[in-house]
């Protein structure tokens, strides 16, 4: 069997055929997949890993105010549900906006620790930078 893997696009994000962006990638590879630490506890290397905290805080005052503002802008009289042409490009811009918070942490296992880090940021609407380092030699 041969796996033919074409080179990834240089520079920015390659346009993936399925139309997924960085936000989709992050949803998939940062908290899914096998966690090596559960198998291997000896020789993992502590490399500094920059990850992007994209946990969405759905039940937040910010979200509430945004919805209220959107409703306030709605002109019900001139609209029918599902009116075409009104669909904004919002999903795209929001997906991008989510990637602004950087969490820096050492990944000892790509897994639970990272998950904890991300969860610890979940309550904070404004993500910020934090750094954690751990030597493992």
């Amino acid at each position: 069997m041969t796996v033919a893997v074409p080179p990834a696009g240089g520079g920015g994000l390659p346009g993936r055929s399925s139309g997924s962006g960085l936000a989709d990638v992050i949803d998939t590879i940062l908290d899914k997949g096998l966690v090596i630490d559960a198998y291997v506890r000896v020789s993992l290397v502590g490399i500094e890993i920059l990850t992007i905290d994209v946990r969405v805080v759905i039940a937040s005052v910010d979200t509430y105010l945004r919805f209220a503002e959107a409703v306030n802008r709605l002109d019900l009289a001139s609209q029918q549900p599902g009116l075409p042409g009104l669909l904004s490009s919002a999903p795209q811009s929001i997906a991008r906006g989510k990637t602004k918070g950087m969490v820096q942490g050492v990944l000892e296992a790509a897994g639970d620790k990272l998950q904890d880090l991300r969860e610890s940021y979940a309550e904070e609407p404004a993500p910020r930078t934090r750094r954690r380092r751990r030597e493992e030699d």
């Binding site: 020789s43 709605l74 904004s88």
Partner: protein, 263 residues
């Protein structure tokens, strides 16, 4: 920086790699796999992606510098793209982003050898199947119109907010937003259940993911057998046209079965 170019199968190399280099592990595959030379992995610059074999299984790896951080957008995309391209051809057990071991020898001795049988069995299980992720999101205006039409309290709050200056309606606006969030959550629950049931005949498994956006209608990972993929994709198309402008439906995949490998 000396890149130690390991060839496939050189798991018992006599010389140790330089100390500042470690072994990034992407995933586990069957041993009878070849990787093309131009495959691009993580790191800056990315090193050559190679295969370390042991028995019936193999690890997809590349060297990384230990003194440089990983996790740029390119690294994340490279990790997933490599695994997804592989998953389109062969069974793959994807590792979560960021698994780095000291040496290729450690990959064999501590990862492949001790878990050979369970990895081999898991690879047989996912043979002929790949993952798809359905992401459906309510379009903003239609769903808000729906909410206002269906809920009297939301309409009253909205009218009040419109009549009064913004400074005095903060509580009303928060209450309105909370109400909308709750109503959308109820719609999401119903639509997610409907989606999971609808695709059951075409799929070997489904995992409901956490919503990734406040207007998510459904976020579900499916394990799809290759010979039922056409039917599955057709069903997604039908759902998309059924929902029309109300919901934006995106289908990601085929990808490695991230949501179906568990530790």
């Amino acid at each position: 920086m000396t890149g130690s170019t390991r060839q496939s199968g050189a798991s018992d190399g006599a010389e140790a790699p330089p100390r500042n280099t470690a072994c990034y592990v992407y995933g586990i595959l069957p041993e009878d796999v070849e990787i093309s030379e131009d495959a691009i992995g993580v790191g800056d610059p990315p090193r050559r992606v190679t295969i370390i074999r042991h028995g019936e299984i193999a690890a997809l790896v590349s060297d990384v510098d230990v003194d440089r951080p990983l996790g740029r957008a390119q690294d994340l995309v490279a990790h997933e793209q490599l695994l997804d391209e592989a998953a389109a051809e062969v069974p793959v057990l994807p590792l979560r982003f960021g698994a780095v071991m000291t040496t290729p020898e450690a990959v064999v001795e501590e990862l492949l050898a001790p878990h050979h049988d369970s990895f081999a069995a898991a690879l047989k299980q996912i043979e002929g199947r790949t993952q798809f992720v359905l992401k459906a999101r309510y379009a903003e205006q239609p769903v808000l119109v729906e909410v206002l039409t269906e809920n009297a309290e939301a309409r009253q709050l909205r009218d009040r907010i419109r009549q009064l200056p913004e400074e005095v309606t903060r509580n009303e606006r928060i209450r309105l937003g909370e109400l909308i969030t709750q109503i959308i959550a109820a719609k999401r629950e119903a639509d997610t259940r409907a989606v999971a049931e609808r695709f059951e005949p075409f799929t070997a498994g489904a995992v409901v993911r956490d919503p990734s956006h406040e207007r998510d209608a459904a976020h579900v990972a499916f394990l799809v057998e290759n010979d039922r993929q056409a039917g599955f994709e057709r069903a997604v198309g039908e759902l998309r046209s059924e929902w029309g402008d109300r919901v934006e439906v995106r289908l990601l995949g085929p990808m490695a079965p991230y949501d179906f490998v568990t530790t």
